[in-house]
Homo-oligomer: 190 residues x 2
DNA sequence: AAAATTCGTTGACTCTGATCAAGAAATAAA
DNA sequence: TTTATTTCTTGATCAGAGTCAACGAATTTT
């Protein structure tokens, strides 16, 4: 749990009292490979913090998996849209390896928001952080070609390349596996 | 100003005291058509609320304007990324008509965050709201074709179609003006 | 109102990624 | 280790958006 407190300190430093209240609302969970944290149609009533492992967040479109995001240790894993709007999720969240997460449920988080100003602030900082993450991804689709997105990935996120099969990377980049294979072949030639 | 208080009530209802503090940090500004609210390279140190008018948020890529967003009355207009990260803006914000906005600067907002829990919460709700806006737009790029995005626009945002020239809509949809013209011609045929 | 400019449409052609198909390589299962 | 399955690569072809160019329509300027 102290590991988590340390991770969270990049957002805000909580007093012992605040941390005790917060941490007692958190539940540690483990899961094995290929387990669903959330299925399509379910409402997402939690935010979880990834301690160990890897998750993918995807949408099923006519039988095809469209991967929207990966979640690594240090990331928040949730369908944050469903969490905020209370609408059923259109996405699946699935573990890609044995994983450890720290989960907090909406009701308990809301109670903490009401009780502690610092946790209300933590909630703001998390929302702001998630905003920055999605806008960055949106920008990469608005302003870059698949090849540029792949290059970007090479520079910024080596974990993705190590831990994720190529056909999933292709989906994440918004292209077909054949196309990513050709992009890589092209780059070899340079 | 009461108009603004009413608009904000969809996020949170402030007491008179809180509202007085908040509203005294807000400055009303007017601008005419084609004025820059923010230029590339500047740091965005404000969030503004659109009272009247229309703004576009765009990125200049090799001389070409790539429109990322439009802001209508009731929207927050800001480079929220630059606001949060204190990095210089890569985008321009330009008025498309005579407009009225209500601006609050980062320093004053932060002071209010510190002083009032309810305004801290307002900040969270705004961040959450902006998150939902960008994820929706990201999803439209991840899961839809330009034609589907155009149809979506027809159904959901009639103001865009009325007030925005077609070549800007094309940019917003991520296609060239010629392509949007052909999409429209195709749809006529149905 | 006339002229100038900007905006929207259409055609011919190009380019990039998708699709379909086959086979090689890598990984998992027996 | 052998077999089976999944993943990756490569080729041929297709489809949709981009580019370039011309022209008509609409708007703005004079």
């Amino acid at each position: 749990m102290e590991q988590i407190r340390n991770y969270f300190s990049k957002f805000i430093v909580l007093t012992d009292t605040e941390w005790n209240a917060f941490s007692s609302a958190i539940r540690k969970e483990t899961c094995t490979k290929k387990q669903f944290l959330l299925q399509q149609g379910e409402e997402c009533d939690f935010i979880a913090f990834v301690g160990e492992g890897l998750f993918r967040f995807y949408y099923l479109q006519e039988g095809e998996e469209k991967i929207t995001a990966f979640f690594f240790p240090g990331d928040f894993v949730s369908n944050y849209r469903s969490f905020l709007t209370r609408q059923p999720s259109e996405h699946y969240i699935e573990s890609m390896s044995d994983s450890v997460i720290y989960k907090i449920h909406r009701n308990e988080l809301n109670a903490l928001y009401n009780e502690y100003k610092s946790i209300e602030r933590l909630g703001r900082l998390i929302a702001e952080n998630l905003y920055l993450v999605v806008t960055k991804r949106l920008d990469s689709f608005l302003y870059s070609t698949p090849e540029e997105r792949y290059k970007e990935l090479l520079n910024r996120n080596s974990r993705l390349l190590q831990d994720v099969p190529q056909y999933m990377l292709a989906s994440y980049l918004g292209v077909k596996p054949e196309t990513l294979s050709r992009i890589r072949a092209r780059k070899q030639a340079d």
